[in-house]
């Protein structure tokens, strides 16, 4: 009798819950709500204030802010990358781009709550420096964040390496980059190749091979999968740049032979005796744009390709 009553109660509860779920589904179909506000709102932007509010649970609050920063950056980046054909603002002057406005405050709060949150400095700098639309294009904030980490841990050569990298890749300031690589190499425990990286950067800054060396160095020193796979992606992008240079030369030769810009890969294939449509390292066909310009497809996971740093003497060399 007792068991039967229990079963009846359980079944009644299940039926009522199923009814409530069904009603909710009907309501959502009939009165669709706006999607999740992907930007969210950051009510408190002061790290010191949040530190006060969280009291004995600073580290846990830092974790929460870190997760929020990743979600925020990832969410906006995904949204921005979904509309690849929108006109891009110049990559290096995206400081007034509103989309990523809360990224630095989120990272600042995270590192104020837990000043030893090593990965927050390193990842955060990558997020901040990344040009629009993949990031806010704020190398200045990336350097500020890493310098904050250095104030907490002056022995972290990784932060110095990252600052050098931001100077190299995003600010094209090879002298500053070389200085930071050199500083990093002087820290006990730093890898031997930082010294030669400093020298190479100073002499050949902007060279694609130097970029390759730097990304390879970052790949080797990466502590977590995300940083490693990001460096690997950059290396593949450099390979795509090599491909594009080689293909462009072929297209230019074909254009010279037929006296006009080829309008399809079939024409290039016929003239240059090549087979099929060339594919990028991700397996997506390269595009032949009007004017005979070879470019990466917007559909490629490698898009957008990085803007290459200029060489010290002002010319770009593959």
């Amino acid at each position: 009798m007792h068991i039967a009553r229990g079963l009846f109660v359980a079944m009644a509860a299940a039926v009522l819950l199923a009814g409530a779920v069904k009603l909710q589904a009907v309501r959502e179909t009939a009165y669709p709500q706006a999607g999740v506000d992907e930007d969210g709102t950051l009510y408190v932007t002061s790290g010191a204030a949040v530190r006060r509010l969280t009291g004995a649970y600073n580290a846990l609050a830092a974790d929460a802010y870190w997760i929020r920063a990743i979600q925020y950056y990832g969410g906006i980046k995904r949204r921005m990358m979904r509309k690849p054909l929108a006109p891009d603002p110049p990559s290096m002057i995206a400081a007034d781009v509103d989309e990523y406005r809360d990224l630095y405050p989120l990272l600042d709060i995270t590192t104020t709550l837990d000043p030893r949150f090593h990965i927050a400095y390193r990842f955060g700098a990558v997020f901040l420096a990344e040009p629009y639309p993949g990031g806010p294009g704020r190398p200045d904030l990336a350097i500020r964040l890493l310098e904050k980490g250095l104030r907490e841990r002056p022995d972290k050569w990784e932060y110095m390496e990252d600052i050098g990298f931001v100077h190299y890749w995003y600010r094209r300031d090879y002298r500053a980059a070389a200085r930071w690589f050199d500083l990093a190499s002087q820290i006990p425990g730093a890898p031997w190749w930082l010294r030669s990286l400093a020298a190479t950067t100073l002499i050949q800054g902007g060279d694609r091979q130097s970029s390759r060396t730097i990304w390879e160095a970052i790949r080797q020193s990466a502590e977590v999968d995300w940083l490693r796979s990001d460096a690997e992606r950059r290396l593949v992008q450099l390979r795509a740049l090599d491909d594009i240079d080689a293909l462009q030369a072929t297209v230019d030769r074909a254009a010279a032979q037929i006296g006009t810009e080829p309008d399809s890969w079939a024409v290039v294939a016929e003239v240059a005796r090549r087979k099929g449509v060339p594919l990028d390292p991700a397996g997506v066909p390269y595009e032949l744009a009007p004017g005979g310009r070879v470019q990466l497809s917007h559909r490629s996971p490698l898009w957008p390709l990085p803007t290459e740093p200029q060489r010290i003497n002002g010319t770009r060399r593959p």
Binding site: Y57, D63, V224
Partner: protein
């Protein structure tokens, strides 16, 4: 001694009967669910975050047990009128206070120990599925024995909070006792501000009062070494001993006053 022990065991049994240990189930579910979800959300920081979460949850769950059971230790007996039958037995009032405190401390020790074991079990599981290359990049190993230092100080802090709750419950109502105890918990984590009060105000008198309060109020921030331990920063043994000694003396003071107040109370 015998009577104190009997009371302590009884308090522990009562807390088990009151399903206090159910919080351990919540703790375990929280950790297991977090360990599953965090891998997707934290960009490789799951072990650090599990440690943070485990230590914070141990502290938070313990705080709720210490406060909400601590405030009822004496007042519940008075409310239910069972204090009369207790006092009619051949025990001293101070034994009742000591026994109640020891019983709740025993409950906390059991709780915190099981939570620590659960935290280590989850960390063992996470370390098991992680390659040695990745493990080398962690600030501290997953099964870091130093976690016990942080957990030990959390337990000592909870014992001090229990003494505060018991102290208030000897002369105040449960709601007020809870408010006072939570208030002291919050103030106790910000006492350093009182020490440096002279840097933000000009009044010498106010600065002196603030400094006096700094020395008198319980300094709970010193028990918080969670962040250091998670980042693999060494906590000296001298610091641990000094902090535990401070807690011991403060608890002694609170229990002495509690026993005095309780012995003076008229239950007619």
């Amino acid at each position: 001694m015998q009577a104190t022990l009997a009371i302590a065991v009884n308090v522990f049994r009562e807390s088990v009967r009151d399903k206090v240990l159910y919080n351990l189930v919540a703790f375990a579910i929280l950790l297991i669910a977090a360990s599953y979800l965090l891998g997707q959300l934290t960009a490789g920081q799951d072990v650090k975050i599990i440690k943070d979460l485990g230590l914070a949850a141990t502290s938070m769950f313990g705080l709720f047990i210490a406060v909400f059971i601590g405030i009822g230790l004496v007042s519940k007996e008075v409310e239910r009128r069972s204090i009369y039958s207790l006092l009619a037995k051949p025990i001293h009032r101070y034994q009742l206070v000591l026994g109640k405190y020891a019983g709740l401390t025993l409950t906390l020790v059991v709780n915190v120990s099981i939570m620590a074991a659960a935290l280590y079990a989850v960390l063992l599981y996470m370390a098991w599925g992680t390659g040695p290359d990745v493990q080398r990049t962690w600030d501290a190993p997953a099964l870091d024995p130093a976690l016990v230092e942080a957990i030990g100080l959390i337990l000592v802090e909870l014992m001090l909070i229990t003494a505060i709750a018991l102290f208030f419950s000897t002369f105040s109502t449960p709601i007020l006792s809870a408010a006072f105890t939570f208030g002291l918990f919050i103030v106790g984590h910000f006492t350093t501000d009182l020490r440096n009060f002279d840097q933000v105000i000009n009044s010498e008198a106010a600065a002196r009062v603030a400094r006096a309060l700094y020395w008198v109020l319980p300094n709970l921030s010193q028990f918080d070494v969670k962040s250091q331990v998670v980042h693999g920063v060494h906590v000296p043994a001298g610091y641990l001993l000094n902090t535990a000694g401070y807690a011991g003396l403060y608890i002694g003071m609170l229990l002495t006053i509690s026993m005095f107040v309780f012995s003076q109370r008229d239950f007619k």
